[in-house]
Amino acid sequence: MSSEIEELTGEDPLPEPGKAPFSWKNFLRKNVTQLGMIFVFFGLWLFFILAAPNTFLSPQIYYAFMATTPLFAIMAMPLTMVIIAGEMDLSFTSIMAIGMVAFIAIFEPTGNVSLAILAALAAGVAAGFLNGGLVVGIGIPSLVATIGTQFFLRGLALVLLNGKGATLVGARESFVYEMFVGKTIGKIPNQFWWSIAIAILCWIILNRTRLGAHIYLIGDNVQSARLMGVNVNRTRLAVFIMIGLAAALAGVLASMQVSFFWPSLGEGYLLSTLASVFLGGTSVFGGVGTILGTFLGSYIIGAINAGIVAIGMTGYWTELIYGLIIVISVSMHVILQRRVK
């Protein structure tokens, strides 16, 4: 069809009706959330530089920031997929701990770090399967099911280790240890590269696979997805398994970073992870959200955390601000959505 048009009009083809010519206005409208976030990111940065120039003009803070932010960024991205699919997972903080219990169980007798990591990841998958099974198999709303497993898995970790921690100092010699929490190109912590790798992987899954397409569909209109033959249960199960796997990986990274595992590992990550997802523009109702948004969201949350401490406010403020971010970003999304309609 378009070739006929070209023939008729010579060298100057008419713009195809389906393809609007590029315009800045359209570009802005389409990417308003991401652009807004980049703006907020640089705005905050400038604010912190002005408020605490000594801290924010020295590289140390950025290295620290690149080591701590990935721990929740790695979970926030798969959690984005869970929420796009119209589900929720609140148990990932406990999955971090249960993964490390499996790690310790293998590491202490064998001293094999790689095997221990595999055990941790397997435990994460199993925990995700448990959550998915409760939601898909029994039909419990995921919000409630994962509050249950959050306590259950935390309790299990505490019972199995009798509430005691375990040292990972013996693992420090391993090259795997270096790969996970070492440093590359000068002082850049490897956790940072992990967060980028997970971001790319999550982006591919969400934007370039059928699973990703179905995640958007079931979160948007589950009835329509069923009518069009999408396997809704399998898709739901997959998102819970992905967040389980990511939480176990985050648990390994977090523990290796301090060479010690506390069975309370993960408490305190719930707020920053959720805040990253919602700040990133993911709809609390499902169907809408991006990996890039969450990735940027995580680093903004990380910067706020570092900034609050650096400008001399107490840590209590972080909780207040994160809570505020969740409420405001979710509300903003609802209001913007209403305006479209």
Partner: protein, 253 residues
């Protein structure tokens, strides 16, 4: 030799718990035939078509497609056999883009198994131009469905059904919520299905719409087939008379 039907239901019943939605229904759809399905609310029209599309499985009875007995038809299987449906609820994901909706549940992939997003957008562009008649530059494959009008949404649902070489098209109350002009376009589209040598099942409340495009009408009442007529054998007035009779007495006689 007995002609094979595109679809044939033999003695099909469907129960939802205590409720019996279909009772011993026989239904046939011939080659290149448009069958209209009429009936009041709760007559079982939607249940019947959801059995044809693999969404529901019959509680008892047999289902044949092109003469082959199919035991448990699923939605992907039905689509694979060339049965596409335009649902009354339009079955669109409103917050998603046009191209995602066209390929909903049937996403194209590259040889590496990843989604072929560019191909899907190109195909959507082509379909918009050739089949949907969208010419405004405000609508493009990246447009989100919730910004479309009712008629545009119906157009998307229909084009989606046609894109995948559907042989049998099932239209579930497709005129609901459409303007007069959009309705006329839709009826022409149903005639076009017949011209292309395909078959269709057309469900509608509106007896005029059904009568004007169907070869045959099947009247359902409270889960049973109350009557069946060739449109060439009955006048619209007689058909209406029969429909009133069915509504009041549950029988055609």
């Amino acid at each position: 030799m007995e002609p094979t039907y595109r679809i044939e239901l033999r003695d099909v019943s469907k129960n939802f718990g205590e409720v019996q939605s279909l009772r011993n229904v026989d239904f046939k759809l011939g080659q290149n035939e448009v069958v209209g399905l009429l009936g009041d609310n709760g007559a079982g029209k939607s249940t019947l078509i959801k059995i044809l599309t693999g969404y529901h499985q019959p509680s008892s009875g047999e289902l044949f497609i092109d003469g082959n007995r199919i035991d448990s038809l699923s939605v992907p299987m039905a689509r694979g056999l060339g049965i596409e449906t335009v649902y009354q609820e339009r079955a669109l994901a409103e917050q998603q883009t046009l191209w995602r909706n066209i390929f909903l549940g049937r996403e194209l992939r590259t040889t590496f198994g990843l989604l072929d997003v560019n191909k899907m957008k190109q195909e959507t562009s082509k379909l918009m131009l050739e089949s949907m008649g969208f010419t405004s530059s405000a609508v493009n494959p990246e447009s989100v469905i919730e910004t479309f009008s009712g008629g545009e949404k119906q157009g998307v649902a229909i084009v989606r059904a046609l894109y995948f070489d559907a042989e049998i098209i099932i239209l579930d109350e497709p005129t609901m919520g459409l303007s007069l002009k959009e309705t006329r376009k839709l009826l022409n589209f149903v005639r076009h299905i017949k011209d292309m040598g395909k078959s269709a099942v057309f469900i509608d409340h509106n007896i005029f719409h059904v009568y004007s495009v169907s070869d045959r009408v099947v009247v359902l009442d409270r889960g049973r087939v109350a009557g069946e007529f060739r449109c060439s054998d009955i006048t619209l007035d007689d058909l209406m008379e029969k429909m009133y009779l069915v509504a009041e007495t549950g029988s055609m006689e």
